[in-house]
Amino acid sequence: MNNMTSLHPEFLKGTPLMAGTREGYGDALLEIAQTDEKLVVLTADLAESTRVLEFAKKYPERFIECGVAEQNMMSVAAGLALAGFKPVVSSYAVFSPGRNWDQLRVSVCYSKLPVVVAGAHTGLSVGPDGATHQALEDIAITRVLPGMTVVVPCDYEQTKKAVKALVSASVPSYVRFTKEKSAVITTSETPFVLGKILPLREGSDVVIFAAGPITVLALQAATELAKSGLEVAVVNLHTIKPIDDFGVLAYAKQCGAVVTLEEHQLHGGLGSAVAEVLVSTYPVPMEMVGVPNTFGQSGKWELLWEYYGLTVAKVKEAVEKAVKRKNKND
């Protein structure tokens, strides 16, 4: 009944391997470079932190250090794409696509150029650096752009696959990852298809759509709720755009109640994307879990998640609320 084949055995045992999604990004670039000589990597003075330093050392002729100049970096990447390369742009998401959103919009998207924008340090889990560096709006500002593909990978393995898929796809795209190490939820064998949902757990009472490392909270909540007889489906919605509307619809119909979960503002992210699909085709009771329209602050990431309501308890609360509303309607 439960589709556990996608999940990593160590994770299922409760002793998950821990790895950084940014490591997945850096490792993917090194692997792609071996066979794709068109790959070039740019950074805005954040090589070590965005994990492209190894690439820079190994492929110095394909690495462009732009200094702290994100707007120039984005348009330079467009120019490199015009010259036939596949550029990947690395900085913290608050700066790229934050600061250089005009350049992403015009130089890249409107020009339809194959630039992959890698947004590091997303979510509250950035921690001590505080609000200025915690990207909570990046999904919203990228998915709204015509022609963008937006992916939010859930762990090291999925980040690797996502980056490879996006470089290969040769379209304007955005991939976000995190600062902290997180549980390896999937395996290297777990399928990854751009634009298609990845069911992680089957159920028919409620479905949780989640993306990013925060997906573990959904799985945890589902396991705990099973004890009280609720069967919660967990679907990893890694591709926010183009969204798998058929997949989303299928699970909305199967369960009749929806919860969304993201390490992002409630406004404009994954939850909004799901709502946009359902509201005109199959509106069902839906609850959203995310950052409640506030900036973050400095602190240890575990405490920040607790403080801003990114917890298993909050997810369970949302599930129970959605189910209650569903039952009231029946």
């Binding site: 707007q71 348009s75 330079v76 467009a78 120019g79 015009l82 010259a83 390369f85 130089s107 020009s111």
Partner: protein, 283 residues
């Protein structure tokens, strides 16, 4: 493409100016001052300097012309038509729905449109990226990027300049349309640029200042730029905004507006008779 003589280029520039006035009149919207001021620069570039192939516009052997101050696209479109990249009959469609001649250039919408431009600063960064990309492939194609002087208010422009200097992109030539105007007034009142030559030199460029209406001087400037190997070059072309049309010259109000039909008639008369000094075949 044949290399034209200076005399022939001056005639081309005049023809380009006429096209600009006509297309702006028909469109009823668009920018007059910059395009008129840049007609000589574009004529020299397209008829004497750049390696271009109108019948094979995307040839890998071509030189690249990037337009960063995209709003002056009437001069780009007129020059491309003059150089047979497409037919002049399409020029009156500027800014109209479904046109290939977008109000601000859209990459590849027309043969010869090498970049999307409009938001100031993005074109020069793209040109730097292209120049870098060509060098990474050991290609020696030239990349010429036309910019506005007011455009240099944008920080991104200086970011691009720094990166070009860092990588010693000697095949990159930035042209500055130094016409001393921007939307809100004269550049030195709105946001003084002062000594642009000194600034560019301090940033690591080789700089050539030139009369933007002297086709011989322009040709020699681009020749000098071509021979510089150690650093990128900047050609500061001193131009008169609205050049060629008496009532438009030096008036910043003409930056962003087209002529009406009376004004266009006056403008065309100016252009066709060298301000009344000769008879025009149109009379």
């Amino acid at each position: 493409m044949d290399i034209l003589s200076y005399k022939e280029i001056e005639l081309k520039a005049n023809s380009i100016r006429e096209s600009i006035m006509q297309m702006l009149l028909t469109a009823g919207t668009g920018h007059s001052a910059g395009p008129l001021g840049l007609a000589d620069v574009f004529a020299v570039l397209y008829f004497r300097i750049l390696k271009i192939f109108p019948t094979d516009p995307w040839s890998m052997d071509r030189d690249f012309l990037f337009l960063s101050n995209g709003h002056v696209c009437p001069v780009l479109y007129s020059t491309l038509a003059e150089a047979d990249f497409f037919d002049k009959s399409e020029l009156p469609t500027l800014r109209r729905m479904s046109t290939r001649l977008q109000g601000h250039p859209h990459l590849k919408s027309l043969p010869g449109v090498e970049n999307t431009g409009g938001p100031l600063g993005q074109g020069i960064s793209q040109a730097v990226g292209m120049a870098l990309g060509l060098r990474m492939q050991n290609r020696r194609n030239r990349v010429v990027c036309v910019t506005g002087d007011g455009e240099h208010n944008e920080g991104q422009v200086w970011e691009a300049i720094m990166l070009a200097a860092k990588y010693k992109l000697s095949r990159l030539c930035v042209v500055v349309d130094r016409n001393n105007i921007q939307i809100d007034g004269f550049t030195e009142d709105v946001m003084p640029l002062n000594d642009l030559k000194a600034k560019y030199e301090a940033f690591g460029f080789h700089v050539i200042e030139v009369d933007g209406h002297n086709v011989q001087a322009l040709s020699e400037a681009f020749g000098e730029a071509d021979s510089v190997y150690e650093r990128p070059t900047c050609v500061i072309a001193r131009t008169v905004p609205g050049k060629g049309v008496n009532f438009m010259e030096r008036d910043y109000h003409w930056h962003g507006i087209p002529p009406n039909s009376d004004q266009a008639r006056e403008a065309l008369k100016d252009l066709r008779t060298l301000r009344g000094r000769m008879l025009s075949e149109h009379e």
